[in-house]
Every structure is written in C-alpha cells, then in structure tokens.
Symmetry: C2
Subunit: 356 residues, 2 copies
Amino acid sequence: MHKKLFIPGPVEVKEDVLAKMSRHMIGHRTNEASELQKNITKKMQKLFYTNNSILLSTSSGSGLMEGAIMSCTKKRAAVFSIGAFGERWYEMAINNGVEADIFKSQWGKPTDPDEVDKVLSSGKYDLITITHNETSTGVMNPIEEIGHVLSKYPEVVFCVDTVSSAGGVKIEVDKLGIDICITSSQKALGLPPGMAICTFSEKARKRAEGVKNRGYYFDLLRLYKYIQKKDHQYPSTPSISHMYALDYQLDKILEEGLENRFDRHSTMANKVREWAKDRFQLFADEKYASNTLTTVKNTKDIDVSDLNKKLGKKGFMISNGYGTLKEKTFRIAHMADTNLNDIVELLETMEDILKL
Amino acid sequence: MHKKLFIPGPVEVKEDVLAKMSRHMIGHRTNEASELQKNITKKMQKLFYTNNSILLSTSSGSGLMEGAIMSCTKKRAAVFSIGAFGERWYEMAINNGVEADIFKSQWGKPTDPDEVDKVLSSGKYDLITITHNETSTGVMNPIEEIGHVLSKYPEVVFCVDTVSSAGGVKIEVDKLGIDICITSSQKALGLPPGMAICTFSEKARKRAEGVKNRGYYFDLLRLYKYIQKKDHQYPSTPSISHMYALDYQLDKILEEGLENRFDRHSTMANKVREWAKDRFQLFADEKYASNTLTTVKNTKDIDVSDLNKKLGKKGFMISNGYGTLKEKTFRIAHMADTNLNDIVELLETMEDILKL
C-alpha cells in the first residue's frame, strides 16, 4: 500500500511528474540537452527572483552546500547553525581543510541577526552560511533581517541553505543579496530526490577565482565556466530524468503562481500549527515557525513510532523527531503539492488513532 | 522522433527499466529503503565478483573517482592515464590538494604493466588509479596484468575506473585485488545517468582511517560507516528512483547470466571492429580494443557531424570523437542492452548514408 508522505523529504510526488522520470534518454552533449538545461535555468531564476546564474548538480543538496563553502571561502567561514543541517555545513568545511567557526543557536531558536553582525564585524570572515529552514527543529530563520546585516559586509559571500523551503516560501535572492542559494529537488519543489540546484552570483564567482583547492565535482566555478562555454551542458553526465521532471514541474509551479503557492504553504502551516498548539506544543519559537514543516513537542508522551506504524496502515507517513529529538518530537511536513485537504485528512486520522 | 543511442553513455534504456524510475517515493529512513539498498548491494557484489562492501552515490561516476583519490591517498597517488578520463582523475587530486603524479600513455595505447611496476617500485606511492576502459580512445586496459603487478605492492590502494565497462565485461574485483572499483549507471549497466557505484575493500577502509581531509559527500569512509550503522541507509537523501531501476535491472542482468552478457558484448564488439577495419581503421591498438565501444579512425575524411545528423533522421545516434579527436574519429558504443541486430541495423544505415 502506498503511503502518502508527510515527511520533510522525500515528499509526495504527483503521478504526472513521476511519469517524466521515465522519458527516453537523450545525449547530454546535444542541442536538446542544452535547451532543456537552459529552460530550467530561466524558470529557476523566476522561482528565486534572481538574475544570477543557476547551477544544477546531480547530487543531494548536501553536495552543493559542500561546494559552496569549499569553492568560496578564502579566509574563514562563519557557519551559523540552528540544528542538524547547520552542524553538517561546519563538518563539510572542517573535512575539507577549510578554516571555519560555528555559531550555534539553541535548537528551536533562530539565528540572531545581531550576533551575525557582531561576528562579521570582527573582519575575520569572508563567507557566511545560514540555514533558512531547519528540518530538524522546524525553525525558519529571519532571512530578511540577516540579509540586511549582510548588506554592511560587501566582502562576505552570503550562502543560504533553502533546501527545505525553496518552492514553498518566497526567497528573493537578489533583493536579499544572497550569493549562493542552495536547494534540492525532493522538498518543496515536489520532485524525487537526486538533483540539487543553486544560484551563483558574480561576487561568488570572483571569490572562487582566488580559492586554490575548490575540489572537482562540486567546484562551483568549474561548473559555472563549463556551462558558459558549453551552452548549459554539464561536465559530468547529469541525471537527465530529473531534468525532465524538474523542467515540467517548474512549469506547473509557475502556472499555479508563486504567490498562490506560497499562500497555500502558509495556509497549511497555520492549520498544522493551530492543531499542534491545541493538542501538543510547538517545538520551534512560534515567531520563527517554518511554513514547510512543523516540529511538534511530544507533550502527551505518545509513542511516535507506534503512531507512524498505525498511520502507515491507513496510507500516511509522518516523521519521528530528528536525532536526539526522536520520540521527544514528531514532524509533519506540509510542502510541495500537498494541499489543505490532505492535511485535514492526516490530522483527523492522527486524532482517530490517538483518540484525542 | 526518438533516437536509439549508440553513444558511450547515456545508453539506450529499455522501457521496463525506465518505468521503474516513475515509482512512488518512499522515505529513505524506512525498512523498505534498507531492504532495497541491501538487495542492490548483494547483486552488485555478484556483478563485481566480490565480497567487498558496495557504496552507492547519487552522482555521476566522477564523484566516486574524486572520493576514492581523496579518501584513500595518504602519501601520493600515481595516476595512470590513457585518455581524457585518466587526466580527469589527476585534476581531481590536484584540485583537492592531494599529492599526485600522472603517467600518460599515448592516446590509443594502453597502460604498460611494466611501467606500473617501475613507478610503484620507487616506494613513493600508496594509491594507484587505472582507467579500465577509456571512452575517448576505445582502449581497454590489460587489467589482469596490471592486477598481477599490484599484488607485489600490498601497501598500494588499487583504484579502477570501470565506468564504461562494468556490466559489459568481466571484472573479477577480488581476484584482481581491486580495492575501489567504480562504475556508473548510464553505461553498460543500461540505466539512466545519476547514480554511481563502487566496491570498497578492507584495505581501502583502513587507509582512509589515516587520511585527514577526506571531504564530505564523497568521503568513502563516512559513507561506509554510515551504511554499516544504519542498515544500508545513506547519510544524504539518495535518488530512490535510480535505486528502484538499478535493483530491477540487476535482476535482469543476472537472469541473462553474466557470462552470456559478456559474450553478447564481445560479439557486438567483434562485429563493429570488423566493420571498422574493413571500411576505416581502428583508433585503438587492436590488442587492447574495448568490448563496449569502438573508436573509429576517420580515414575516409567523412563529415561526422553530418553523418550523425542524417543518422538522427533515421532514429540513430553515434558519437563524434572526443575533444581534439572530433571529426578525426567517431565512436560507436555497443553496450548495455543493445544486441547484435541493433548493431547490424546501425552499420547498414551508416553504409547507406555514406554510400560505402
């Protein structure tokens, strides 16, 4: 029995989008491939409100996170962490010999823009990483305020992980001054996992020119130069199946209308949050609660694994808490092409099972 | 109009295999995902005649090539190159600050086992990379003889790029003493691009333990440890679609029978080589000509681009020469699920067009 996914990725993917994954292969050195990749670029630029370049990577989002910090840190990176994925970014720097410091917020709290200001004012850092939406805690960072702080530091490359928000929440890359904005196919974009996407600014490009060991597969400058020279073709054979599906899904997203799509996410988020507050508690500081997933504090001490097993029998799946938050929290994703009816159906089923 | 692909990747993928790419998503932290990944491992071990671990990577084969040289070189890597992909391996080392030297054979010639012996006898190197099958030149290296040389150097980690040969040619990993044997989905395995696979020996694992900067996404030791601990689940969200297709296709490959499959490749290769020798010349030294693709020397000075355009109108596609060999050579792939009838049909169509 198929389980409808309410987990923070992979998300439920619509049948017509899945069907595009089965298209016949084409050569990746053909005009047809160039055309496909060019079209994706134009549509992704709309989604990110940017004129910057778009880079595609056959990998999970983690790959481009590693590529960003490795390709564009010359001096030292300041990694701001609000949970598991922030910590991962720091690990990526250290494992590549990139100088970096990590600044952690308490789990459930956002990054404090004043702290960002203080850290950057030291002049020690030339790159900063921010997690826009933290899937472990359900916190969404105040990216506008952080962007405002960054505008004071033109020498700092601004990298943002929007893996679990892009496509569900408005992210105006150019207005916010984001140099590298990273996302992935299997979250709010509503596609199968396997492809990552980022924006790449002129500032990031210039910085990368001065960095010696940028690696290879995730060297953003190498990717950028290659697609410039080869009419949007990629150096290694990309996942053509994902490109077909992405191209198609971006059309659907733009047809729905970005604002409509963001509103739909906001409506679903409100519904889940109200429900969670009524019956449990929110794990995240509500002011910064995510619009794509909600982490619920398990104040009733329910058996989350058992709940998920019972949900499974009825064709639904949610997520247990992340890492040490397992059983202490549970997570409901409300993103991609899920709609309010799906959410209501899920919540009612949970209530039935839990006899709430 | 769909063009049947006779290019060295992406290859023609059968409809039933493509259909598996469209399956509904499942959570990557479920027993179902563990089961899927465990099944793939067992089947890949058969294909590679090995008891070593199997690592999957959502990337092209290049990713795991980078991961191998970065994760397992402690002292210095000796990169033996017989064409474009050997040169790429050297670039990967240098771009990551890994100490390495490159030893190039003339394009069209194989790696000389005696040279390997001489280089390794210096005691300077603790890792060696060999391209088994070079897609630019159509040369297949004498991997048994090279493996024999390697057996004298137990401290050297033996890495082999079998991206364009595995699944089409017998590669007995354990017998040959290969520590890291790398391949990719879109060549002789007959799948869409987007997934890479490698074997990982105990010796490679022990070496990696002593290497400091192993990177993150392609850190083979991190992947290995994670799947050990998490019952074959991967640290980043993998391409579940590719895993479904790979699992299914491996069943088909094992049903055909590995020896039958290798024989089929050999028969197709002989046919193309005889044709090429009759009408043109082979680019590769015939003793080392590849069983998965043939690079044909354009001795008749035909217009290869034009030929490919005309072939396209009849539903076929071959490859022009690689890089500087463009127009000077052309390439016909005979791998994956292509059969002798397909090859005959292609060659007859080419003869018609070229009026040979």
